[in-house]
């Protein structure tokens, strides 16, 4: 392997890790809902893409700087998240684990269909920020748009961690996750915390959706299924219910994916991501951080 090959390999891993921030955000969304409700929201990635579309629509009506698109996507994501909670969870018996799983599959298909019909299935361009900025660091080049995305992803995660670990709302959310019966007897309304969890994860997902749109430069309904798979893989590798796990696993999957895209091409890349998941399932089925005993 020549010097240039090594540089190129490292370069592609670095790009992948930067893009992996979006996977981290999606993984956080899946894992947070799972941690609080012990339910999987399969419509999450589709809703995130839907929120990115919604932000485009709003931005086309209101003239605002492109940077607001992330804010708008987060806002739209929060609203869509709450709608998904009301439709797919609030009135569906929680005792049957398959009921909510199927209702979220329904929401996934519904969101996809709405997008396909509204755009006639044609991908739409998404504004990329700082795509003209290229930073040269020695032999490496760092893409401005990816770095901005990574920074935004880190900021979102930091804010989320502060919310969850420093505010009473976050502590109440974690209390519900750990001990729902006792939480409601401490005066915490469980439906309200569940609804808020969907709003919060929706905001995170909306930002992730906008980041993905900005990084790729287009939005397409074809994104939602692969992203659902990636989000779930990240969640499992990180450890179901673990937020630090989702963050690390997202970056890991991003880097890994680009590494194998570099060596084996885009057609084979997801095969290796699946192999990574397989390795984890066999050798470390609890994920990177298997959460300590949560609810009993």
């Amino acid at each position: 392997m020549s010097y240039l090959d090594v540089i190129d390999t490292l370069q592609s891993v670095a790009d992948g890790v930067l893009f992996g921030a979006t996977y981290s955000l999606l993984g956080i969304g899946f894992t947070l809902v799972f941690g609080v409700m012990h339910k999987i929201n399969l419509s999450y990635a589709a809703a995130s893409i839907g929120a990115a579309y919604a932000s485009l629509i709003v931005l086309s009506v209101v003239k605002a700087p492109a940077i607001f698109i992330f804010l708008l996507a987060g806002l739209a994501g929060g609203i869509i998240g709450f709608m998904i909670y009301v439709v797919c969870f609030r009135f569906i018996p929680q005792a049957n684990p398959l009921a909510t799983l199927m209702s979220t599959v329904g929401a996934l298909l519904l969101i996809d269909e709405i997008i396909v019909h509204a755009t006639v299935g044609i991908p739409v361009p998404y504004p990329a920020l700082f795509s003209d900025v290229i930073v040269n660091a020695g032999p490496f080049t760092l893409r401005g748009d990816l770095m901005f995305m990574f920074a935004l992803g880190c900021l979102s995660m930091l804010l989320l961690l502060v919310l969850l670990y420093r505010t009473k709302l976050g502590i109440a959310t974690r209390a519900v996750a750990q001990q729902p019966v006792a939480a409601q007897l401490c005066g915490i309304s469980i439906p309200r915390i569940n609804g808020l969890t969907f709003v919060i994860t929706g905001v995170v997902g909306g930002i992730a959706g906008a980041m993905i749109g900005a990084a790729i430069g287009v939005l397409s309904p074809l994104l939602s299924l692969p992203l659902t798979t990636k989000g779930l893989i990240v969640t499992v590798i990180g450890g179901l219910g673990s937020i630090p796990g989702a963050i690390i696993a997202g970056l890991l999957v991003g880097g890994f994916e680009n590494l194998f895209q570099y060596f084996r091409g885009v057609t084979e890349r997801d095969l290796y991501v699946m192999l990574l998941l397989f390795g984890f399932l066999v050798f470390r089925p609890g994920g990177i951080f298997s959460p300590a005993a949560g609810r009993d």
Binding site: L169, V181, Q184, C186, A292
Partner: protein, 249 residues
């Protein structure tokens, strides 16, 4: 303070609680005893709203709370401890108490201040409860890492930090040694001095007889006796059903 009227709870064909009438006067420590499976814990679960009732009413300060969700009852002043400890194991002792501070006076603060603000004046109250529970030195430890006796004390602390009007204690002395039971006795008396009404379910008879003002005895979901500790102890029906003395003698 608390009144139960014809309270019933059936699980399938089992009548766990069957037409129970009970009055717990304000400011008293009221004992509820009975053999295993007599329906005591079910009564607590009905009063705090964990299960819906099959029939009957639960009145708090003469207001019907039968249909309210349990977190709303907390806001009305009903809190409880659990027989099998249910702490938030991954939160610190301090956070366990902070998150339970949801009394009416805190509700008036407004959503953003209450949920996104810092602890504010809650801090002093929590410090006082920590001292009361002899947990001041453990405030930053995870609740899951505490010793058993400390976890029991935190259960009680978490139930009283919201300044309830009615406290439901579901076998608070289970698994405690004699010294810990003495401390629990002192804490229940101290809370009574502060005006708290307590419904105590307990198997440890010495504690029940020492600390309660009145006692009701349940058997097969029905009340078979009620009175002062002395009256209940000498009641032949109670001895027969609960203590089994009459048959043994």
């Amino acid at each position: 303070m608390l009144e139960l009227k014809g309270l019933s709870k059936h699980f399938g064909g089992v009548r766990a609680v069957d037409g129970l009438d009970l009055r717990v006067p304000r400011g008293e420590v009221f004992g509820l005893i009975g053999p295993n499976g007599s329906g005591k814990s079910t009564v607590v679960n009905l009063v705090c709203g964990l299960f819906p009732v099959t029939a009957g009413e639960v009145l708090l300060r003469d207001e019907d709370i039968t249909g309210l969700a349990s977190h709303v009852r907390v806001a009305r002043g009903v809190t409880r401890t659990f027989q099998n400890i249910r702490l938030f194991g991954q939160l610190s002792v301090w956070q366990n108490l902070w998150v339970a501070q949801n009394s009416t006076e805190h509700r008036s603060e407004g959503f953003l201040r209450r949920w996104l603000g810092g602890p504010g004046r809650a801090r002093e109250e929590i410090d006082r409860i920590l001292e009361f529970s002899d947990l001041s030195g453990k405030r930053d430890e995870l609740a899951g890492n505490l010793a058993f006796g400390e976890q029991r004390r935190l259960e009680l602390a978490r139930a009283v930090v919201a300044k309830p009007a009615l406290l439901l204690l579901d076998e608070p002395a289970a698994g405690m040694n004699a010294e810990e039971i003495d401390q629990l006795d002192a804490r229940i008396r101290k809370l009574k001095q502060d005006g708290l009404t307590t419904l105590l379910i307990e198997h440890h008879m010495e504690l029940v007889m020492a600390v309660t003002d009145r006692i009701a005895v349940l058997n097969f979901g029905q009340k078979i006796a009620e009175g002062t500790p002395d009256e209940v102890q000498t009641n032949p029906l109670v001895q027969q059903a609960y203590l089994g003395v009459a048959e043994a003698a």
